[in-house]
Amino acid sequence: MNSPNNSCDVVVDINDITYRRRVLARESLADFIRHTIGLTGTHVGCEHGICGACTVKMNGMIVRSCLVLAVQADGQQIKTIEGIKASGEIDDLRAAFHENNAAQCGFCTPAMLITAAELLQNEKNPDRQRIRQFLSGNYCRCTGYQAIVDAVEQVALERGNV
């Protein structure tokens, strides 16, 4: 049962929109993003930090939103896949995922894109092994990863040529 005393007021910036909401202390940031804000691109898989499907950016750093409480996001800046997509920053990555069939059921895809984008932002020429290593925190149960690594490698090479 939820005690009304166990809720808190938060002001959270999600994809450049400021939300003031009352949240339960026990509510995860992932559930807050999905159920309260209604942004369902952030997926909830294992809820203990293993599968990576709930990855979002908090103050510019990737985090597991199932392992952050909504109340801890008070005063922080969150970017979800919706906001990152809208920025246009990952258009090439999305296209490459499409071309390479790097998404099947799509459950892992938003977080896979966010994680891959993080790698490509920090490292110019990651090789396949490095790509696999960096994406190792994101489970995909359909593709066998080959196509995902292909897509990320393709974008790494394309961006390197610009």
């Binding site: 166990n6 995860s28 930090g49 985090v63 199932c66 392992l67 925190g137």
Partner: protein
């Protein structure tokens, strides 16, 4: 700190999702404030630092605290600082900060190497050293490094500050010498000498997973002889284990493959090895012996260069 209160809890009908029980949340304004809250709620509170160990435990309802006291934002608990012959690391220092710190790279290369093996970037961006040690997963990397490096754990309560040797700190699975009214405020690690060498290895099913077996070794080699040798194994037992007795034949001696073989044989008697979900004790025993022999060989080769 928390896990002595962790309880196995049956799931009520309809309770078939992974959400923590209802709890209150308080953001501590200072260490004193956190300590007061902790004392007032001593039987029923948990400290929240990075949350990367605590929140999975809460989500799975292995622990059911009534209050979370958030200390992760307290700047005074963060930072990496050289103090003479020691490096002092604040309890709420995040793994990513350890990974990027030139002080750690230069003075504590073993920690540097270990951090790369801790989970994944998204976890390292939140997880903290203090939380890692206080929650004391026996398969975790940094507890073993602290044991190998002979670190001291600084515990603060309203009664004052005490230092506990890392080698005394870990007691059992998720259990440490921390008392319920204490905060892990810092870790102090001796800086390495010019004779120091390290080795770090672990066996995992997936990059970033908890280790099935791992080893963190700190050694000092003088004139080709092992003057100090501290191999800490993790993932094998209920806590990180330092091998001591078995090392006697090689301490103060030159590297010799025959002597190492002798040590490797007695290691399995000294270290208690448990089965786990992914590996039998027999397989782990094999890894322990293999990693130990490889690590010593690596250290010997480095020291000859």
């Amino acid at each position: 700190m928390l896990l002595h209160r962790i309880q196995e809890r049956g799931r009520a009908p309809g309770e078939n999702f992974v959400k923590p029980v209802d709890f209150a949340y308080k953001k501590a304004r200072s260490i004193d404030h956190a300590l007061r809250l902790l004392k007032e709620n001593v039987d029923d509170a948990a400290l929240l630092s990075g949350g990367q160990s605590l929140l999975p435990i809460l989500n799975m309802r292995l622990a059911t605290p009534a209050l979370l006291i958030d200390i992760s934002h307290l700047e005074v608990l963060r930072g990496i600082e050289r103090q003479g012959k020691f490096i002092r690391i604040g309890g709420a220092t995040r793994h990513v900060e350890l990974q990027r710190s030139p002080v750690i790279t230069h003075h504590l290369p073993l920690i540097s190497r270990a951090v790369d093996h801790i989970a994944h970037a998204a976890i390292r961006n939140r997880g903290t050293l203090g939380g890692n040690l206080a929650l004391a997963d026996p398969a975790s990397e940094l507890p073993a490094c602290c044991v190998a490096l002979d670190a001291k754990i600084e515990l603060t309560s309203e009664a004052g500050v005490r230092q506990v040797e890392a080698r005394e700190f870990f007691i059992d699975v998720y259990e440490t010498a921390m008392k319920a009214d204490e905060i892990l405020t810092a870790v102090t690690i001796p800086t390495t000498t010019s004779n120091a060498y390290f080795s770090f290895r672990e066996f995992v099913r997936r990059q970033g997973d908890f280790a099935i077996v791992g080893i963190a070794v700190h050694a000092e080699v003088v004139d080709g002889r092992f003057e100090t040798l501290a191999p800490a194994f993790f993932g094998v037992s209920k806590k990180p284990v330092l091998a001591v007795r078995s090392l006697i034949p090689i301490l103060g001696e030159r590297f010799s493959p025959e002597r190492i073989d002798e040590v490797v044989k007695s290691l399995q008697n000294e270290i208690e090895i448990f089965d786990s979900l992914h590996a039998s004790a027999g397989f782990k025993r094999h890894l322990v012996k293999h990693f130990f022999a490889e690590s010593l060989k690596e250290i010997h080769e480095f020291s000859e260069q």
